[in-house]
């Protein structure tokens, strides 16, 4: 007896979960009738609630929903008709079918009164269990079907809401993913940009070291003594450094020709600014051209100080430039009032460098005129942008 009990319990509990029950309210002041009704309805397997007065029944109706009310007509205090009118008057209970239980008055007047009070059916006492069960089971089925369809509607509604929620979440997640992808791409782009910058910097440094090496070897080849080498080398590196500083301040964009000239000539014209006259319109130079011209100006100035117009007290230098329509710069260096000039026996490093910077670096031309009254250097070169375009065209044609 004890062993199967848990199985049966678990069965009934699982049944309680799967099959919802309807509540049946039995209202009768007579305990025997209430018991008889109870016994008749027990096999329906629904929940049976007994109230012994109209007041108790109304109280029960406040808290629960019922499939059907079995109502005794004749009760002390509130009778069945009064109770039925209360049930019909309340919105929450209006729909509950009422079946009257009555032992008396099987006449038509009484029946009419019962139906007009809201009865949907009548059962006569003594109660026939079969008839009662049949009638009540109809209302129970109806109630359960309604409850079922209501539950289904609710479930459908919940599923729909769930569906909306999931779709909204998916959309949010997709947006977040897209944002994070965009962020990732931006980061990768920034990193790639940084790598390019570092590689470019490395390249510049290596190139500059190569230039310094070349400068050392070339200066050494034309220096008669270590002292002479050191002085020339250090000054040339200093001149390179000055143009670099200028470009650095301009963030390696363009710089003005007159700035490059002032920066390169500054160490030589500190004492008397009137000895070197600069005159020309604004000309923007790219870094490559600026570095090349810086070296040219430096070589011209050192030569003037050593052999030319700046080697005595009265000599003067005039540097003038102009810009032609075809983006070509014409630049003249003219020395005057210096010692008499005689052409050098052979081109030294300085004049070779001047020629090479103009032709090789600036794609321009240069002429050195050793006029006895003063050195004259006539230079011209295209501005890098126009020359760059021309080179690009030919480069693509190859």
């Amino acid at each position: 007896m004890q062993e199967p009990a848990p199985v049966a319990e678990s069965d009934s509990s699982s049944e309680a979960i799967t099959a919802p029950k309807a509540k049946i309210l039995i209202v009768d002041d007579d305990e025997r009738t209430a018991m008889a009704v109870r016994n008749a309805l027990e096999q329906l397997g629904q929940t049976l609630v007994v109230a012994h007065s109209g007041e108790e029944a109304l109280h029960r109706l406040l808290y629960d929903d019922y499939a059907v009310i079995l109502l005794d007509v004749n009760m002390p205090g509130m009778d069945g008709y009064e109770m039925a009118s209360f049930v019909r008057a309340r919105k929450r209970t209006r729909h509950i079918p009422i079946v009257f239980l009555t032992a008396l008055f099987r006449d038509d007047t009484h029946l009419l009164q019962a139906y007009s009070a809201g009865a949907v059916d009548m059962v006569f006492k003594p109660v026939d269990p079969f008839i009662l069960r049949s009638k009540v089971s109809v209302f129970v089925d109806l109630y359960l079907k309604q409850a079922e369809s209501q539950r289904e509607a609710e479930l459908r509604h919940r599923l729909q809401e769930e569906n909306f929620r999931v779709r909204a979440e998916k959309l949010t997640a997709e947006q977040a993913l897209r944002r994070s992808q965009e962020h990732q791409e931006a980061m990768e782009k920034a990193e790639a940009h940084q790598r390019t910058l570092i590689e470019e910097l490395n390249h510049r440094v290596k190139n500059m070291l190569t230039v310094v090496n070349a400068m050392a070897r070339q200066t050494l080849a034309s220096s008669p003594s270590p002292q002479d080498f050191t002085e020339k080398f250090v000054r040339r590196i200093d001149a390179l450094g000055r143009t670099h500083s200028l470009l650095s301040r301009a963030q390696w964009g363009s710089v003005q020709l007159c700035e490059v000239a002032r920066e390169s000539l500054e160490p030589y014209i500190l004492e008397d600014k009137n000895r070197v006259m600069l005159n020309g319109p604004p000309v923007a130079l790219d870094p490559k051209s600026a570095l090349a011209l810086g070296m040219v100006f430096h070589e011209l100035a050192t030569n003037a100080i050593k052999h030319g117009a700046l080697s005595n007290r009265d000599g003067k230098v005039a540097m003038g430039w102009g810009l032609n329509g075809d983006h070509r710069v014409a630049l003249d260096w003219q020395e005057a009032d210096g010692p008499q000039v005689s052409p050098p026996a052979q081109g030294g490093f300085g004049s070779r460098l001047i020629r090479l910077e103009l032709t090789h670096e600036l794609n321009g031309e240069v002429e050195l005129i050793f006029d006895p009254c003063g050195l004259k250097v006539i230079m011209s070169f295209p501005l890098s942008d126009s020359s760059g375009v021309a080179q690009a065209k030919q480069g693509m044609g190859q």
Binding site: E199, N202, H203, R204, K206, N207, L209, T210, V211, V212, N213, A214, M215, R217, Q218, A221, K288, A292, M295, R352, L353, L356, E357, H360, E361, N363, G388, Q391, A392, Q394, G395, Q398
Partner: protein
């Protein structure tokens, strides 16, 4: 061939470096063709007698030297590349050729020039 009369085409856009390469090579007895400062200038020099070796700076301002390199390779000229880039990768067709990093040491540069000159056949023919 290995004697000082070999001719070397120099392509380098930086004036001072070009001047230095020329001096280093000429002091070693080589005949220098150029130096050319751009792909265009280098191509113009190919109309004359072909060099025994070409010493090519990879980056020429806005351009690279590979157009010239391909042209020279097609004419069976031996090539040596020069670069300031630390992670420079040569195109597939030239990856087997010597690459000298800047700044260069003159004696090492001359050593590589000599090695390349002493190779009997162009490297790509040997590979094919």
């Amino acid at each position: 061939m290995i004697s000082g009369t070999a001719s070397i085409l120099v392509v380098e856009d930086e004036a001072l470096i070009a001047m230095d390469l020329q001096m280093v090579l000429e002091d070693a007895g080589y005949h220098v063709i150029g130096p050319a400062n751009s792909p265009e200038a280098a191509m113009a020099l190919l109309d004359g007698p072909l060099p025994d070796v070409a010493l090519l700076d990879v980056n020429l301002g806005r351009f690279d030297v590979f157009g010239v390199a391909n042209e020279l390779a097609a004419r069976k000229t031996k090539l040596i590349f020069l670069t300031g880039h630390t992670a420079q990768r040569l195109p597939e067709a030239h990856r087997h050729r010597p690459l000298i990093g800047k700044p260069y040491l003159p004696h090492l540069l001359l050593q590589i020039v000599q090695q390349v000159l002493s190779q009997r056949e162009p490297a790509d023919e040997a590979a094919a």
